[in-house]
């Protein structure tokens, strides 16, 4: 075998994202927890309520472990220079801001109700995502979108809005 063949055959191992192993471990733990709880369900016969939960939990545990092993074997840890970079990869600023807005929205929704909360969410999100441009335009778009949604859901389908 010529040396160049050998060099070409040695494939680069793909990089794994930070937290990938942790995510798989999360599933493994979820499966273990689910199995443990399922043991307390009525069991004993082939048609008991615990059969499927236990079966499915076992599948989750087994396959998650397989995934962990495969990921460890076949991928290379991506080197990030700092914790800040890791966080930036997992949650880019835009996503983090949207998530924050969603949390605030969830809290505020039962208090100020649907129309004001949704208008504010849409307006703030749009203005932020467009980096502060189009203040008036976005207000109009949010208003119009909200009006359409309310018209369809509240008046045609008679859904009581939160």
């Amino acid at each position: 075998m010529v040396e160049s063949d050998y060099v070409m055959k040695k494939k680069e191992k793909p990089h794994r994202s930070p937290g990938e192993i942790a995510f798989c471990i999360f599933f493994t733990l979820l499966g273990c927890f689910a199995y443990y709880i399922a043991l307390s369900f009525t069991s004993g016969s082939w048609d008991s309520p615990s059969i499927f939960p236990r079966l499915v939990s076992a599948v989750i545990i087994a396959l998650s472990i397989v995934t962990i092993i495969r990921t460890l074997k076949n991928t290379v840890k991506t080197s990030f220079t700092s914790v800040k970079d890791i966080v930036k990869f997992l949650l880019p600023t835009d996503v983090a801001v949207l998530l924050f807005l969603l949390v605030v929205y969830s809290v505020v929704l039962p208090i100020i109700h649907f129309i004001p909360a949704s208008f504010l969410f849409m307006y703030i999100a749009m203005v932020y995502l467009q980096r502060g441009r189009g203040l008036l335009k976005n207000a109009a778009i949010s208003g119009l979108a909200l009006a359409c949604l309310v018209a369809i859901f509240r008046y045609i389908f008679l859904v009581i809005l939160p």
Binding site: G19, A34, F52, P53, V66, T67, D94, P110, L129, L158
Partner: protein, 505 residues
């Protein structure tokens, strides 16, 4: 003769005609908007039309039904947010086509095959209803269990990402579907004493979260990406293209009719099984499945609309609903003083003709309305992400709340959305989780019902699996599905292929 003239009733009566058209138009929108479902619209229409003539009500509902099933595919293709579970499979290849700039073509194809699939479903309803209903009655709980098994196994061949990760996502979905009160014994599973968990985790908030909010958050990773320019030249598929794909469409429609005819299963499972069948039988797809193959849009869209015709079969011949919407229609019949059941066709023969006619008109109307509005719908893609993402999120919120006026559902939906975001980041597909949530209860309850019917004797259960013709066919399919995924089989078939190509030279 009475039945024959009843076919002409909706065509000659302008009011009925208009109602069908209105229903179809509304249905397309209802189907497209995530969170609004045909089932919800149908149940609203029942109360709406309480005082109407039964034919008027039926005309409207049939229109909404036909339009809605296609409508779900529109947002699935354009935004990767299925408007309904029946449209999940459409997005597997539909959304990649949009990414390639071929959304109008995908929508045009979907619309056309939806017409043909619907037509086949209606024809079968017209001519073969009694025969099919007789066979459908033979389907036992163990067969439903096997069908749901097939659905779950499809997760292994879903194609968009790692197979094993897909199964994990699906298994977690099945696990989550078991939260709540066990339907057979009333036992509380995984509720930890919480009232909210007692009612279980509905799959609709999960679907809206895992597709809508997840899509929004994932797209927010790069807001500056410009919208993909869509090629609006080729909307109506050429005759050549149509003839090429017609066999696949009709095959998929047949699958849809059968699965629709089974009480309790409908377009969602039909679309999945048709997608998988297409994946296995189409040797040279236009693109790899999962990356924008036209076949990946044709198969599910033909199957889910054909399932509509199929769902009417047990409803009209036996009074057993083929799916949720036909169950609601049975409710409408009862409200209007009719008696659905095995003698329904004998006592009210005209109803059959009117329904078939309405479905036919709705099918044609859907083709025309949808074709004309494709250009309009495609404009949605041109909206910049910065505007689309917040609107989609709020749409997801209101759509989730609309299901049962529960704020808790909205919180679940948002939670699923965040989970889905991380799942996508780490290579876990989200569709299997939704499917696990849908199929989990079918798997669990039918397995247990089957076991109970053989007095918990596993040997008799296994014996029944191979002695009953329907079960045997399903078992063979499942075994084939499992074996064909193993490396040994793939090696075997590729060796056989190279041998035949070598001998052909």
């Amino acid at each position: 003769m009475g039945t024959l003239s009843s076919f002409l009733v909706p065509i000659l009566n302008v009011k009925l005609l208009l109602l069908v058209l209105l229903g179809t138009f509304g249905g397309i929108w209802v189907g497209a908007i995530p969170g609004l479902s045909v089932t919800m619209a149908a149940s609203l229409l029942i109360s709406f039309t309480f005082s109407w003539d039964i034919y008027d009500a039926i005309a409207l509902i049939c229109g909404v039904y036909m339009g809605g099933v296609y409508g779900g595919g529109i947002t699935s293709i354009l935004l990767n947010i299925p408007g309904a579970p029946a449209a999940i499979a459409t997005g597997f290849d539909g959304y990649p086509l949009t990414m390639k700039g071929e959304a109008p073509k995908a929508l045009g194809l979907a619309c056309t095959v939806s017409f043909f699939g619907g037509l086949l479903g209606i024809i079968v309803l017209l001519f073969a209803a009694p025969i099919i209903s007789r066979i459908a009655l033979q389907v036992a709980p163990r067969d439903y269990f096997l069908l749901a098994m097939m659905g779950i196994l499809l997760l292994t061949s879903m194609g968009s990402g790692d197979t094993i990760k897909g199964i994990i996502a699906g298994a977690v979905g099945v696990l989550l579907s078991m939260v709540g009160m066990d339907p057979s014994t009333g036992e509380m599973r995984y509720t930890f004493g919480s009232v909210y968990l007692m009612q279980g985790i509905s799959f609709v908030p999960a679907m809206i979260g895992l597709f809508g909010v997840t899509e929004g958050l994932s797209q927010a990773r790069d807001v500056t990406v410009a919208a993909i320019k869509q090629n609006v030249d080729k909307i109506i598929p050429s005759l050549k293209l149509l003839l090429k794909y017609l066999p696949l469409s009709l095959r998929s429609a047949l699958i849809g009719i059968w699965i629709g005819a089974l009480p309790g299963t409908g377009g969602d499972i039909a679309a999945l099984i048709a997608y998988d069948a297409a994946k296995r039988t189409v040797k040279k797809p236009s693109a790899p499945f999962g990356k924008g193959a036209y076949e990946g849009v044709i198969a599910p869209e033909s199957a889910n609309i054909a399932a509509v015709g199929g769902a009417f079969i047990p409803m009209l011949t036996l009074g057993i609903p083929g799916d949720a919407v036909t169950a609601i229609i049975i409710g409408a019949f009862i409200i209007h003083g009719l008696r659905p059941g095995p003698l329904f066709m004998v006592e009210t023969p005209n109803m059959f003709g009117v329904i078939v006619s309405c479905l036919l008109i709705a099918n044609i109307a859907k083709l025309i309305i949808a074709m004309c509005s494709i250009k309009f719908f495609t404009k949605v893609i041109d909206v910049p992400r910065a505007i689309l993402i917040p609107v989609v999120i709020i749409l997801s919120v209101i759509g989730t709340y609309a299901i049962q006026n529960s704020l808790v559902d909205v919180y679940w939906m948002l939670g699923f959305g965040v989970l889905g975001y991380f799942m996508r980041l780490y290579g876990f597909a989200t569709a299997p989780m939704v499917l696990g949530l849908i199929l989990g209860p079918i798997l669990d309850s039918n397995y247990r019902r089957a076991m109970q019917s053989v007095n918990n004797d596993p040997m008799i259960f296994l014996h029944d699996l191979v002695t009953n013709p329907i079960s045997l066919i399903l078992v063979v399919f499942i075994v084939y599905m499992i074996i064909s995924q193993t490396p040994q089989w793939k090696r075997f078939t590729s060796k056989a292929r190279t041998k035949t190509s070598a001998s052909n030279r």
